[in-house]
């Protein structure tokens, strides 16, 4: 491990920015305007990015298994529980830190356009910087506890930013929902962390909260078996711990069953949706699983659960995105679905593929969200795609970047998403680790169907938004439009600070995949090679099903066909809004079609089901408890209170009439005596001297008489 002294600056600089705007932002905003707010808020994350880049270059020069390390101070030195505030920059953290700082910094720039003229401009940038700090702490932490600090920190920032426009009740409610759902996951994370620590301590005689040390302990000869053979509640220790930790990941990364908060989180400003709820924070769960690969690899059962949940989520969320009309909702379900793909990858042990897709997804999904933000701005905060249309002509850059990103996410060949998604599907199919019947086939099948839907809903949203004629006129008069949209009466392209960001991200969405070319093509896979040393210790536990290259070629072609089918269907149905079939199906279709549409459109009534079971249940329980509280607990408390009052009354009477009586008597005697004697004190020297003389006379006479 290479000691360096600048690592802490990577998370710390955004914290400085957050403090600066949090403390002085309101006044700076009033006196100096928006520039004083966003310059520090943008420059500090960029410096973080440059530092990450510097660290990345230094790391690349060292040998493969090396890592940069910086310990700031000992945090909890409690015997064997030894957590430091220390940062570790290995090859995995490097990728994450680069993605977070790069995409994050770009989105800061974009936000100067999107949040323009917002009265809480300073608050927005302060939160955004704080988020960068928390996220970087999460990815750079060298132990569980510090990671948990970042984990909670990003949750807090997510909550703050979802309810950023808190004056609307729905936004505040969405923030709370995200926070509460994440609490459920945090419980899992916490329990998993403790269980892993104590379980390993019991089984192996040594344990650590430090990831690297823990990995070393588990890699010792014989230790892995000792740990696997330790059982709690009849379940193998690593399985239980991994599943608990995965519960944490399902909440943070919006997987079944805890994905419900993410679609609602779109209530926040669009840059927030792009940064936190698409590109970075929600991928924390994937990162955590990859970081703990040495734990998950021990337990095929937990890995199967991860892969299956990922596959189900990918498919389930993709279907929910099919018929949404809110452009951000489509992207939200798409994010949930894509996160499912990442979990599929890490679930079958293809750690680097999960991280690869995470990175590519950060590019194209951030780009898509920022495009949708650009559209929403142009349409005056209209998010319904039925009221858009034809924007490709007015907003060529937004339209083109959206198209590129859609091609990438759908997996059209040579765009970035193709490489990562196809690799995931292949690894799933070829996995020899899943415990499901038919090997990885089920996982692959879920992913492949989800890919069809993905291509469909992405191009549906593209054609509804950017092709045909603008439909926003319907409910507005000409004069209103003139006023809103300038002399053309149509939405127009955004300024440069928005479009430049879109172009950069679209460029990466188009070409970013070339760092991870498939083996099949006999080209160097830079990304896998880069991450290989991080995951080397679990390599011997992962097996391939041994399918040949012919099958891989076939599957690759199949996924291309799938993607193009989805695209073509969407084009046929939605291009230029000319095809009458979608509308006719909804009005005249058979009851079955209508019923399916209604169920899917209402997201399978999952929110309603949660409402009816968990929320109502919680409310009922709390009512019963409150009744118990009111009647019995309060009764006891009141009784105790009454007895206490009685004693107090008696005590008070004694005090008042007896003790106080004595005290008052003494006081009044002294007061009376004092006021009487005060007459003797005249203040005249003559009187005193006369008294002195008289006294000495008497004294002399007495002495004379006695002697």
């Amino acid at each position: 491990m290479e000691q360096v002294s600048y690592l802490f600056l990577i998370p710390m600089l955004p914290l400085v920015g957050a403090a600066w705007n949090g403390l002085f932002g309101a006044r700076l905003h009033k006196r100096l305007g928006e520039t004083a707010i966003h310059w520090p808020a943008i420059i500090l994350p960029w410096v973080s990015f440059l530092l990450s880049l510097w660290a990345f270059i230094s790391l690349a020069r060292l040998d493969e298994s090396a890592a940069l390390y910086q310990k700031l101070w000992s945090w909890l030195p409690l015997g064997i529980v030894n957590a430091d505030v220390a940062f570790r920059f290995d090859r995995l953290s490097a990728v994450m830190a680069m993605v977070v700082t790069f995409v994050g910094s770009l989105i800061h720039i974009y936000s100067t356009g999107y949040m323009k003229d917002d009265p809480s401009y300073w608050r927005f940038f302060s939160y955004l910087n704080l988020f960068m700090f928390a996220m970087l702490t999460l990815v750079l932490a060298d132990n569980f506890l510090l990671m948990f600090v970042g984990w909670e920190g990003v949750g807090l920032c997510s909550y703050l930013l979802i309810s950023f426009w808190y004056k609307e009740r729905a936004n505040a409610a969405a923030g709370m929902k995200a926070f509460i759902v994440n609490r459920v996951g945090d419980l899992g994370f916490g329990l998993g962390m403790y269980l892993l620590f104590w379980g390993v301590l019991k089984a192996a005689g040594d344990s650590s909260l430090n990831f690297h040390t823990l990995e070393t302990i588990i890699s010792r000869p014989g230790m892995a078996d000792a740990i696997i053979n330790t059982h709690y509640l009849g379940i193998s220790l690593p399985t239980l711990a991994a599943v608990l930790l995965f519960v944490g990941a399902t909440a943070k990364s919006a997987q079944i069953p805890l994905y419900v908060w993410l679609p609602d989180a779109m209530a926040g400003p669009t840059p927030v949706s792009a940064l936190i709820h698409a590109a970075t924070m929600v991928t924390a769960g994937v990162y955590m699983v990859a970081r703990l690969h040495f734990l998950f690899a021990l337990t095929p059962a937990a890995m199967t659960i991860v892969a299956l949940v990922g596959g189900l989520t990918a498919l389930f969320a993709a279907t929910m995105g099919l018929f949404q009309y809110d452009i951000k909702k489509v992207l939200a379900y798409s994010t949930v679905s894509q996160l499912g793909y990442m979990f599929m990858a890490v679930g079958v042990g293809a750690w680097w593929v999960g991280i690869f897709h995470l990175m590519i997804h950060a590019f194209f999904k951030a780009c898509l969200f920022l495009d949708s933000g650009s559209v929403i701005l142009a349409c005056h905060h209209e998010q319904d795609m039925r009221k858009m249309g034809g924007l490709g002509k007015q907003m060529p850059i937004t339209g083109a970047t959206y198209l590129v990103s859609s091609l990438a996410i759908s997996g059209i060949p040579f765009f970035a998403g193709f490489f990562s998604k196809d690799e995931i599907l292949w690894k799933a199919f070829d996995s020899g680790n899943t415990l499901l019947p038919g090997g990885g086939f089920i996982i692959w099948f879920l992913g492949a169907v989800a890919a069809l839907f993905t291509a469909f809903y992405m191009f549906r949203s593209y054609y509804m938004t950017f092709s045909g004629e603008y439909r926003g006129h319907a409910d507005k008069t000409g004069a209103e439009l003139e006023e809103h949209n300038g002399h053309h009466g149509l939405p127009c392209e955004q300024p440069k600070n928005i479009t430049v960001v879109l172009i950069i991200l679209a460029f990466l969405a188009a070409f970013g995949g070339f760092v991870g070319l498939p083996h099949l093509w006999h080209m160097p896979n830079l990304f896998e090679h880069w991450l290989e040393p991080v995951f080397i210790s679990t390599r011997h536990r992962l097996f391939s099903a041994g399918h040949g290259p012919a099958l891989e070629w076939a599957l690759m072609s199949l996924s291309v066909v799938i993607a193009i089918t989805g695209w073509a269907t969407a084009r046929w149905l939605y291009k230029d809004a000319k095809n009458p079939i979608p509308a006719r199906l909804l009005t005249e279709g058979s009851p079955l079609v209508k019923a399916i549409h209604r169920i899917v459109f209402n997201k399978y009534y999952v929110d309603e089901a949660y409402e009816a079971t968990f929320i109502k249940g919680a409310l009922k329980t709390s009512k019963v408890l409150s009744l118990f509280d009111n009647r019995i607990i309060d009764g006891i408390v009141n009784l105790a209170g009454a007895v206490g009052r009685l004693f107090g009354y008696i005590n008070g009477a004694i005090d008042k009439y007896f003790v106080d009586g004595i005290v008052n008597l003494v006081a009044s005697v002294i007061l009376k005596g004092g006021s009487d004697f005060s007459h003797a004190q005249t203040g005249r020297i003559n009187t005193y001297i006369l008294g002195l003389l008289g006294g000495s006379m008497v004294f002399l006479v007495l002495v004379y008489l006695i002697s």
């Binding site: 004190q681 020297i685 003389l693």
Partner: protein, 102 residues
């Protein structure tokens, strides 16, 4: 006629009595100081007398010298105070300088 200790003590008593009378009856601060001066001198005279006629050494006389010196110093300070009193109250009557009286 030889002067014995009795003569000196009588003079001393007269001085003391006049001093006391002066201090008790007069209201003028300067007069009070004069009275105190008389009392001090009565004491000094006693010291000298006893030193001369009773002990025979010069301890008492040295002490008397210190007494005179201290009296002079005390008078300086006291007169300065009286002067300030006069500036503040436009009078040196000790009965009328009673602002701090409770």
């Amino acid at each position: 006629m030889t002067i014995t200790i009795s003569h000196l003590l009588v003079v001393s008593i007269v001085l003391l009595a006049s001093g006391l009378y002066c201090v008790i009856t007069r209201k003028n601060a300067v007069a009070l100081l004069m009275g105190i001066e008389l009392i001090l001198n009565a004491a000094n005279l006693n010291l000298v007398a006893f030193s001369r006629f009773v002990t025979g050494d010069i301890d008492g006389q040295v002490f008397a010298l210190f007494g005179i010196l201290l009296a002079a110093a005390e008078t300086v300070v006291a007169l300065a105070i009286v002067l300030q009193v006069f500036r503040a109250f436009d009078t040196v009557d000790v009965d009328r300088t009673d602002k701090l009286r409770g």
